[in-house]
Amino acid sequence: MNQPYTSHIYICESDFDIAEQYKAACEAAPHSGAVVFFVGLVRDMYSGRDNQDSVEYLELQHYPVMTESLCEEIVHDAHQRYSFEHVRLIHRVGKLYSSEQIVMVAVASQHREGAFLAAQFVMDHLKTRATFWKKEVGTLGAQWLGVKDKDEIAVKRWD
């Protein structure tokens, strides 16, 4: 039976500060020997293209209440498999420009394996299950993205 955990899940327009989040994670998990952070940033290239076309900004939309509850569920599912003391999950919405922070997952655990795996589990499921939508706007015009094939494949390894 895994130890209990605490979590902080937050969806917002405003930016987040990594130093603050790291401090909060350490304070919430005083017995942890390992902290894994993942930060996703807005890339300046269109998804799936490696050319000169550039994305100016993303427009991120989500389904309030449902998204938060799906994120809680994903973190809960991660904890059924991996031991950790604390998780922080922050996802921004609204207009996000190139190189801005989009998402952060931090996992504090006694050992590194659990922290790495839980962070990957959360990210893979967030990408394929949580009700966020992303529109790329740039030199090629505006287009809503769907689930990427590689994310569909990535999430299957947890089945």
Binding site: G40, L60, Q61, H62, Y63, V65, M66, S69, H91, I102, V103, M123, L126, K127, T128, R129, A130, T131, F132, W133, K134, K135, W144, L145, G146, V147, K148, D151
Partner: protein, 83 residues
């Protein structure tokens, strides 16, 4: 009343964030969508045909044949792309 929420490409196609209708004669999500398409732009119907749209009822993933009751909130959800 039953409320429908649109997201992403479906919101653009609908030209609105949401749609509210009387629950009379609506047994499941398919009935709801049929009624809704009579009143909203045809672009929404095209968009619903064009991709794998998921459905939620009261903020939980559900099937297209999920039964509906007065007061329910239905989400029409294009493939997600967060993270």
């Amino acid at each position: 009343m039953i409320k429908v929420l649109f997201f992403a490409s479906l919101r653009d196609a609908a030209g609105t964030d949401d749609f509210t209708t009387c629950a009379d004669g609506i047994a499941d999500v398919r009935d709801l969508v049929k009624k809704m398409l009579d009143e909203l732009p045809s672009a929404l119907g095209d968009a619903l045909e064009g991709e794998t749209v998921m459905v939620s009822v009261n903020q939980k993933y559900a099937g297209w044949d999920a039964t509906l009751n007065d007061g329910d909130e239905v989400g029409l959800l294009p493939p997600v792309s967060g993270g």
